[in-house]
Amino acid sequence: MSEPVAGIALAVVIVGLALTTFLTRTSFLLAGSRLRLNHRIEVALRHAPVCTLTAIIVPDVLMHGGAAYDFSLLNPRLIGTLAAGLWLCWSRNILGCLASGMIACSLARVLL
């Protein structure tokens, strides 16, 4: 693992994120009215967040702190994820999801 991004580099990252957020939010509001979204492109854009976020979540849970996969039920983050997922199956309450995930992950870290 490398060092966290900090200092000037962190400022560049945050300004870059702010700019891309602004550009996507204002894109069609500022562009000419002749621009139209093709149906397939719209479907692809709609699915982009879920796919990107999953590609971030999965390595963060299964490979946390190293390069090797950790599928074992001794992985605290995997246990936390399972608990949070179970919670989401019957409720959409975010705080409950976070609490169940954190409690399961912490218990696993302490007990296993």
């Binding site: 060092e3 580099a9 879920v50 979540i57 959409r92 976070l98 912490s106």
Partner: protein, 244 residues
Amino acid sequence: MTGIEPARREVFRQGQRAILHSLPGAATWGLVSGVAMVKGGLTVPWAVFMSLTVYAGSAQLAALPLIATGMPLWVIVATGLITNLRFVIYSAALRPYFAEEPLRRRAALGFFMTDFTFTLFMRAAQEGWLPARHRDAWFAGVCSNNWITWQASAITGIVAASYVPTDWGLEFTGTLALIALVGPALRARPALVGAVAAGVIALLAHGLPYRLGLFVAAIIGIVAATLADDWRPRETTVDSGSTS
């Protein structure tokens, strides 16, 4: 400028009232994002700066693990961009309602538009209770209350989290918040197909140079979800993209 027309001010207030019922949800997300930013490794000033300038919970949460592991800058910004691509659809949907407004006002309305405020605006438009005049003032009212609530709760979360010891392991809240965002969307089959593809490829391609694995995974996931979308029966067309 001699003050705002009373009719516009009244419509602005109507907008502020229209979003009241979803402010607890905005406050929860703001709080969680604030805690996750500080526990993800940002200092209080940087976290406040990020919250005020970016104002996009999912892009901020997505960036945190990448900042913490020292990913290249362009990877972090590009990841934020893909996470934000849904806003392109929103802005295309809003365009007809604001086409007559001056450029600067359209830019401002775009800056303050979020999952919450966009969804409320489109529902008002489709159910016919959007005011006939001064729609921009109505949307500005909706967005102002959402912005104030989100920023106040995010900054509360940032300050509160800075007093919590690191060994509580709270940095995992950021990932859990992403799970809470993604989870409900997986009820739609195409999104589930895309997420499974993206997750598997993210593991397999993790060793690729320049951290390209993340993008390879995201793009294969998006293609898989789009193909799955083509095959699904037309009559069950539901919106799978609501991540708010």
